[in-house]
Symmetry: C2
Subunit: 657 residues, 2 copies
């Protein structure tokens, strides 16, 4: 079985080939044109060198605790005792990172060129992300303890997944990261949240094919239907169909091109498939395949970029396209690409065996050690890493770039010249917070002898917040905004659903999708890029995203311990229809469990509020919306009751603090 | 805006119409043929009368506390004080129930005709399900306090959503039900679980278009890829795209036929769309539209049935179809169909206003009361319900059928003659439990001085359970069976993924899909229809389905309080990679929260086990797999340790009890 066989999914499906194939975007002629160009064509060398270096550093992090740059012949003693990390997804991530870098660089001289963010669904692929971040200088910028020197890089390699070093999953310590690794499925929704109300941002989101089996991802493919192209940026979703998860084929990996064409056309996208080996004869060498797929990916990324421009330009010139079909890319590259082909007679590259550590016994003399040695040497580390700072080739504009000279200039020249555009340093990912503008909450209180719904009172306050923050505040709710008595919001704004002509292209601040998972992902992406949101829901259904909230709390905990990250707004949840005060639903709608999760979290991160009346509710929600770096749970109530406390009494109570 | 406009989704999409339309299954000629037939054609009268009666009873349950059958002119005083229930989905559910009844009846004389089960995703539609269950005699059979008499039916109508009566959501008290209403999204997965290893069963699953926005549903559309047609039955999924949720258009409701054709073709289905008004001229009367859509649905159901037969016959004769494309139906019928067209100048039928109680002020004199009166009268209750048992028309075969005589025979004649085939009485839904065959657990223990992984020891025991129960036991796991050290299972069985030629059509007992939601749904459906399962997972990721587990616990609690329901096996979860003994993952993979959920549940329902060694682990898993009517959480451990207890010591400990 060759690598090619491994990439190609089981065939055939019984779909009518001629019909369905026409749904796929064909970019062959663009790839041919690019190949024919000499000057101004593809920086193929730059792409290949970048990936060689990034793949080397990724693999080295998993395996080496000494001799990280192979300054001397590899010995068993150089191999880590405990091999941790996931290799399988790494080369694909490096491939996408390289091509995103190239896209940014190709357009960096243009006016109003978007800023790019990078979101890794498979957080296990940290070795790849960390490698590219090191190469672009982001690691050294935020972690001077890893200087851009041979020693610094070796220390960086050794420290991976060791106490004090970077963890084996992407987390808040990772420059550019907006998403805690671990629990899979939310990357795509977070990506869409990150570009809402950021018209000049594009997030490239890599979705693993394992991850794509989760429900949260399966429904987040619809998320573009809530992106207004006039006011928001865009996502380039890239499904990384490398075919296998930890022990089995993946669903999308087992779907052929026709099935994928139908599925993602149905979700509303234009699809282009980039497939390793598809544009080169089967008997071609690995290198020829490697080259062909670079051309494919380069034209695919440029195509995606141009399609986004078309959709956005139309909407921004007042002639929005009805149901715009945003671009997406399906990427079929081998799992563990460039890694060991086989070990102990069994396929590794292009197989589930490449998922985690492909050579688990490499720490002892034997076949696997020999394979590791030749694998690492195959990248040519002596060509990639130099002893001295190589000023002459680096095109350096600043000190960090000079330092990059230890990495061969050919491997770093596709990295954007402007530091602020490198994806580990984009402001939006770590220091774009502006405080919410809030009215005086006392203006929204009521006389204590008036019967008023807590939620109704909060709704009037929230409507004012929407007015004061027309592009910085959103409400995410699973179809319950009116049922939750927050409908005062609709006096000043509306829903935002692009597939409905009644609410398309109108910039509504309320998103109602019946997917708590997607809402939570949007809220996280929106908040971590500096904005503010509110998530009201029935008490019993907010628990659906309990583990997501807990993962987010981990991200915030680590962000607080990460010096270079700025503040982000607190996430505020309001629960209604509580067990203790059922408004109209019965047993099937009762579940007060989420409060238990909040109680078990550290109190600087997670706060719980049970305001007893409308006046206190307004004060509490005001307090929560102004909070930072935490999560807030407010227990609401919908039915009218009299207030217990006057506004002044609330002011002096703990609730207003 | 007419009802027709409301049903038709926003147009257009930019998809190439000619190309995509060919993906849809066209059944026009079959419908025409059926219409042309006289004798042996469609029992149109029976279908329409059934739906009239069912819709009347559904609406009456929501509104009437007296005069339930309109024996006298409706008065304000007959209307309930508190109006509860969801009308919008009811007529669609009754439409599907009617056509499923007709399909069963049409085939009831054939040999080996499958048994049908009915699964309602939108549990809020209980008024519809309860109405049809009453009409077929299932309510009276299980609840003699509601006899088949005018008084019995009036009492049934009055009791809906009142203390002591049926709740407003489908739950364990509902005959035929396999799924707790409330939290949306799991119905489809439960339906697929219910037919695994039941080759002669078909579950008709209605999925609401609100529900279809959830992640769990979005990924469960892939569930058919784990159904081996040789060994298992089939699901007929029916997406009920009535266009609106509680306050907004739905995603699938806003997708046009082409988008839906692509999406569900991509998921792997053949799709036929049944649309109200599509086969009749726009200016046609309501009745003409109503008639046309009955022909469409009847041929659609027959088509689905025949397609299932083809796929199953091929597989069972040893020539399985590669990637079989199972049938599914998209059903566009108006929300609140046959309900009030407008109220207070605003559209109700075919709109979100029909979602819950369409005439909330009908309890006081005024327009809404008048609308309610004419609406209920429009069904002609005096024609539908009779005073005396009407033996002559009922074709009665047994006492329950005789009793059905109070409902006009035209309204009940499409109901299957054989009681056991009526969907509220099918054995598989409530009394099909057989105990698991288990080996002696002591045969799988180890000497106490041997270092052995708890999970490895359990794996050997589980392998034997698989051997002893070749069609009654399955393992559902999110891609971690080997990582969880249960790989001994692969000595006796394999994975079961029909999209991979390596594991297709081989009856494997292990399902690995990276969707905890789908696994949980499958396990529930499989267990509630009498079988047994095991769900191993990492500790941190099982919490993803915490609220599902809690909803399931509610179902079991009510099932135990429901006299006519038989036992079901306990659900057993094994958690590994715990926070306290991390095997190789870090902070991103740590979350011990699920145990807190189990602790808070009643102890007869939820049990937690922390076996300290391999011998105890085997005893505990044996105990759990033999348990009934509960949920079990076993905390596992993967690394080898010495046992503390000899098998005999384990026997006398609490663990073996």
């Amino acid at each position: 079985m060759s690598t090619l066989d491994a990439v190609t999914p089981p065939k055939p499906s019984s779909l009518p080939h001629d019909i369905v194939a026409s749904l796929l975007v064909n970019l062959d002629s663009q790839a041919d044109q690019l190949r024919a160009k000499k000057q101004g064509g593809l920086d193929l060398e730059g792409l290949l060198y970048f990936q060689r270096a990034a793949n080397y550093i990724a693999a080295a992090q998993i395996f080496l605790h000494a001799n990280g740059l192979l300054s001397e012949p590899l010995e068993v003693s150089h191999v880590k005792n405990r091999l941790l990390g996931h290799w399988g997804t790494c080369p694909g991530l490096n491939f996408v990172y390289a091509h995103t870098n190239l896209l940014i660089s190709n357009h960096q001289e243009e006016e109003n060129v978007p800023e790019f963010m990078f979101l890794t669904g498979p957080g296990h692929g940290a070795p790849a992300i960390l490698a590219t971040l090191f190469m672009e200088g982001s690691i050294t910028r935020f972690y001077p303890e890893y200087p851009m020197s041979r020693e610094g890089l070796e220390y960086f390699i050794r420290s991976f997944s060791m106490p004090g070093g970077f963890p084996s999953h992407v987390n808040a310590e990772t420059p550019g990261a907006l998403h805690e690794g671990g629990e899979l499925g939310y990357g795509l929704a977070v990506a869409y949240g990150s570009v809402m109300d950021k018209p000049n941002h594009i997030t490239v989101a890599v979705i693993g094919d394992g991850e794509s089996e989760t429900g949260p991802t399966a429904t987040a493919w619809h998320a573009h239907k809530y992106i207004d192209p006039a006011e928001s940026g865009a996502v380039i979703p890239i499904l990384h169909a490398n075919g296998y998860k930890i022990g089995e084929r993946t669903i999308t990996g087992a779907m052929d091109d026709l099935e994928l064409a139908c599925l993602f056309t149905g979700y509303g996208y234009q699809i282009h498939i980039v497939e390793y080996g598809s544009k080169s004869p089967e008997e071609a060498s690995d290198h020829e395949h490697d080259v062909a797929v670079q051309y494919d990916m380069a034209v695919a990324m440029e195509w995606a970029y141009q399609e986004i421009q078309k959709i956005q330009s139309a909407a921004r010139s007042g002639k929005p396209i009805v149901k715009p079909r945003w671009p997406m890319i399906v990427m079929r590259t081998p799992k563990g690409w460039t890694g060991p082909r086989k070990a102990e007679g069994k396929l590794v590259e292009g197989n589930w065996r490449a998922h985690q550590v492909p050579l688990p016994s490499a720490g002892a003399k034997g076949e696997e050690f020999d394979l590791l040695k030749s694998w690492l040497e195959s990248y040519g580390p002596d060509e990639l890493f130099h002893v001295h700072v190589d000023d002459s080739h680096s095109g350096a504009h600043n000190p960090a770039d000079k330092a990059r000279g230890i990495i061969d200039s050919k491997a770093v020249r596709i990295i954007p010249k402007d530091q602020e555009r490198r994806m580990g340093m984009v402001n939006a990912t770590y220091r774009d917070f502006k405080p919410l503008k809030t009215p005086s909450w006392k203006d929204y209180t009521h006389p204590i002898d008036e019967e008023i719904s807590n939620m109704k009172a909060v709704g009037e306050y929230v409507a004012k917040v929407i007015e004061l923050n027309p592009k910085e505040f959103r409400i995410f709710s699973p179809d319950e905004i009116s049922s939750n008595k927050l409908d005062a919001a609709f006096k000043v704004t509306q829903r935002n659903f692009q597939w409905d002509p009644e609410t398309a292209n109108k910039g509504g601040r309320v998103i109602e999708m019946l997917s708590e998972h997607t809402l939570q992902g949007w809220l996280q992406g929106y908040t971590l890029t500096g904005r503010h949101g509110l998530f009201p829901s029935y008490e019993s259904f907010l628990g659906i995203v309990q583990t997501m909230i807990e993962q987010y709390a981990k991200f915030i905990k680590m962000a607080l311990e990460t010096k270079w990250r700025g503040d982000v707004a607190g996430l505020t949840y309001i629960e209604t229809s509580t067990l203790w005060r059922q408004e109209h639903n019965g047993y099937s709608h009762q579940n007060p469990g989420l409060i238990g999760s909040f109680i078990s979290l550290p109190r600087n991160l997670a706060r719980i509020y049970l305001p007893p009346d409308a006046n206190t509710s307004v004060a509490v929600v005001d307090h929560c919306l102004r909070s930072k770096n935490n999560i807030n749970l407010v227990i609401g109530s919908k039915n009218p009751t009299k207030s217990f406390l006057t506004p002044d009494e609330v002011s002096t109570s703990q609730y207003a603090k």
